[in-house]
């Protein structure tokens, strides 16, 4: 029993660390798709946010002696801002230019790693952007003394976890309990009806895409701070995994949380299964666990797509003349 508890104590913070960026980026994708714009550029936006955020952290580290958590907070904000700006290109292409949203997103996905590696190699002569990496919170004072919960949630944690919980809660409320949220959702379901009631479709869709950009940009920084002490010009498919989370979660915030937990758990199992007694005996290659979220998403798609919960107008440029 105590051994099992030990494993849980060991694994839980790792799962949470993976789950936070997944859930946040998937929530961003939710905003974009609910407003009617498919955003498969999340991967690229994460790379861009991660790159700019980590570069900033590196320079703040060198120039100042701010407390590490403040530096992390600044890095997250800068990353979010970078994602916000970068996603503007996708918004402009898909909303104003009525482009194919997959094509413009593909362009962003190719552009971000190219420019990140190009700039890093030009400045540092290496694709790596190295930071001190000292952003783990070992334990939160007082709160970590609460039995079980204290150890699970308030030791070996990251600032981004608490920030992520707040952002997730606030944005979920915005989407379902405010006028703006209602407008966003209406633009993805029936933009013509929304337009006839005086909603500015273009503006709302911009808001949706830019929120997704900010969340993905922040997610990129979270990814680097939680898993590495350097940025390599990639977020190893996290952006696409977040898209799978969105689909697996059937475009619903609470289900997105479950999906993110499941996907994060699979990731953790893939890298630590040799330390988990039950899985040690099965001896499956790590790739099986890494593949599982994608396979599960395909299966879900195959079985529910006929009554899919996806926003009806997602992916279609808004055309006033088309009814």
């Amino acid at each position: 029993m105590s051994q099992t508890l030990g494993i849980v104590y060991f694994l839980f913070p790792l799962v949470v660390a993976s789950m936070v960026p997944l859930a946040l980026v998937a929530l961003g994708a939710l905003f974009s798709e609910r407003s009617g714009v498919i955003n498969i550029a999340l991967e690229g936006i994460m790379v861009m946010g991660g790159f700019v955020g980590v570069m900033s952290i590196r320079y703040i580290e060198m120039a100042t002696t701010l407390p590490p958590q403040l530096i992390a907070f600044l890095g997250l904000l800068i990353g979010a801002f970078a994602g916000f700006v970068f996603s503007f290109f996708h918004a402009y292409a898909s909303i104003n230019m009525k482009s194919n949203q997959i094509i413009s997103a593909t362009a962003l996905n190719l552009f971000a790693p190219a420019i990140a590696v190009f700039v890093a190699r030009t400045i540092f002569l290496s694709r790596r952007v190295v930071i001190s990496g000292n952003y783990l919170i070992r334990e939160v004072p007082i709160l970590s003394d609460i039995p079980i919960i204290g150890r699970l949630f308030f030791t070996r944690a990251y600032l981004s976890t608490y920030l992520g919980v707040v952002i997730f809660a606030v944005l979920t409320i915005v989407l379902y309990k405010t006028r703006l949220g209602l407008r966003i959702r209406s633009c993805g379901e029936n933009p013509h009806a929304a337009d006839s009631l005086g909603v500015n479709i273009y503006k709302i869709r911009y808001i949706g895409v830019l929120i997704s950009g900010a969340l993905a940009g922040m997610g990129g920084v979270i990814f680097v701070l939680s898993f590495a002490t350097r940025f390599d010009g990639t977020v190893v498919g996290f952006g696409f995994l977040a898209l799978a989370v969105l689909i697996f979660g059937q475009w619903h915030p609470l289900k997105i949380l479950y999906a993110a937990f499941f996907f994060a758990a699979m990731r953790v199992v893939a890298s630590t299964y040799s330390g988990i007694p039950v899985l040690q005996d099965i001896r499956l290659p790590a790739e099986v666990y890494r593949m599982l979220p994608y396979v599960a998403t395909l299966v879900v798609l195959a079985f529910v797509s006929k009554k899919s919960q996806a926003p009806r107008a997602a992916g279609e440029p808004y055309d006033v003349g088309k009814r």
Binding site: A107, F118, L243, I247
Partner: protein, 391 residues
């Protein structure tokens, strides 16, 4: 006034030089194909311009020679660099054809990278193990890659046809499944522990070079270029000269109308994705059935599949256009190879390609609005001229 922007009336008056320019513009405004070609060229120019500006910012002194190297580097070592340009171009032509073929059926094959990965693994597996095939070894290996790619593509097609799953979404999942499967299978089946990569295919599995070695001495070009040319012609014939191609395009234009006309839309969707996957699979086989290039268990998507999207767009999804765009990409890639002489990182090529894709996404806008603008403008001018004539 029947044709307010028609050629004859406009030519009847006005001065000589303006008349010719106006006539040319009218032709452009009239023919959608030239408008789309115009938008392709605009996208390429924009991409190159952005690349040039970035080079100016990074290193103003070397920006001009560096930029010229990107454009004309493929000429710098004569037949050797021309051969390498073709070598770099071939896989991209094939992935471009793969994406373009699906486009014509109204399908967006973003999964070329996964199909290419499966094709590459299968080809290398056969190349490593089936030495008993002798002279047929490389042919079987390429065919194996083709079949693996076809199977992988057909999954997305089946899901689309029978379960209404959007092919973009399923292809993204299939890309990552292929990536992890590739890593797993390399380590399980054809691993070279010493170098932490897949074993080398036997020489009998290498794509032959035939007489190309004599024409382009020192370059890596092989008969993959003939395979690419052959497939380009084949696809051109299928799409433009056969009932099957006509059906595919009809399904692409309007699935319901095609169904109403008695075509089997589901079958055509599955077939289109299968053929598209087969092309990407061949690309994977040709990329890795060469000396000195190895599959690695690194869990990275192969970018060639995504570059294929750019090439398909630039080539206007027409096989011959795709071929030219693919070779153009080979030239850029070859230029990027020489670029390091000037202290520029070769990633500038990827930046240029990304910008080109971004602007080619605008093609629809450019086509409708530029054409509309030209027509409006020319039409107004013609009316104006007619007005003065009456006076």
């Amino acid at each position: 006034m029947k044709f307010p922007w028609g050629g004859k009336r406009a030519r009847g008056n006005g001065d000589g030089g303006g008349r010719i320019v106006q006539g040319a513009l009218q032709k452009v405004a009239h023919r959608p194909a030239s408008i789309s070609a115009f938008s392709s060229i605009l996208a390429i120019v924009s991409g190159l311009l952005v690349g040039f500006v970035i080079m100016l910012i990074v290193n103003p002194g070397d920006a001009v020679p560096g930029f010229l190297t990107i454009l004309f580097g493929w000429l710098s070592e004569g037949s050797r660099s021309v051969g390498d340009m073709l070598y770099f171009g071939v896989p991209i032509v094939l992935t471009g054809l793969s994406v373009a073929f699906a486009f014509r059926t109204g399908l967006f094959n973003i999964g070329a990278t996964g199909q290419l990965t499966m094709g590459a693994f299968t080809a290398v597996y056969i190349g490593v193990n089936w030495g008993f095939l002798g002279a047929f070894h490389w042919i079987v290996a390429v065919l194996g890659g083709m079949i693996a790619g076809a199977v992988w593509g057909s999954i997305a097609g089946l899901l689309k046809a029978f379960r209404n799953v959007h092919e973009v979404v399923s292809s993204i999942m299939l890309n990552y499944i292929a990536m992890y499967m590739n890593t797993m299978l390399i380590v399980q089946l054809i691993y070279n522990r010493q170098y932490a990569r897949a074993r080398s295919p036997l020489p009998s599995a290498h794509i032959p070079t035939w007489f190309l070695r004599d024409i382009f001495p020192g370059s890596s070009v092989n008969i993959g270029i003939f395979i690419a040319i052959g497939l380009t012609i084949l696809l051109h014939i299928i799409l433009n000269r056969t009932v099957f191609g006509y059906e595919l395009k009809s399904v692409g234009f309007n699935r319901d109308a095609a169904k109403y006309a008695g075509m089997n839309a589901k079958r055509n969707i599955v077939l289109s994705m299968t053929i598209s996957g087969a092309l990407a699979g061949i690309a994977g086989a040709i990329m890795f059935l060469v000396a000195g290039r190895h599959l690695e268990p690194v869990n990275q998507l192969m970018q060639e599949g995504f570059t294929g999207i750019a090439i398909a767009l630039l080539g206007l999804s027409a096989p011959i256009g795709v071929f030219m765009a693919g070779i153009f990409y080979g030239a850029l890639e070859q230029g990027g190879y020489y670029l390091q002489l000037y202290d520029f990182m070769p990633e500038i090529i990827d930046i240029i390609i990304a910008v080109i894709i971004y602007f080619s996404a605008f093609s629809l806008f450019i086509q409708t609005y530029v054409a509309g603008y030209l027509r409006r403008k020319l039409g107004a001018e013609v009316e104006l001229q007619q007005g003065t004539e009456i006076k």
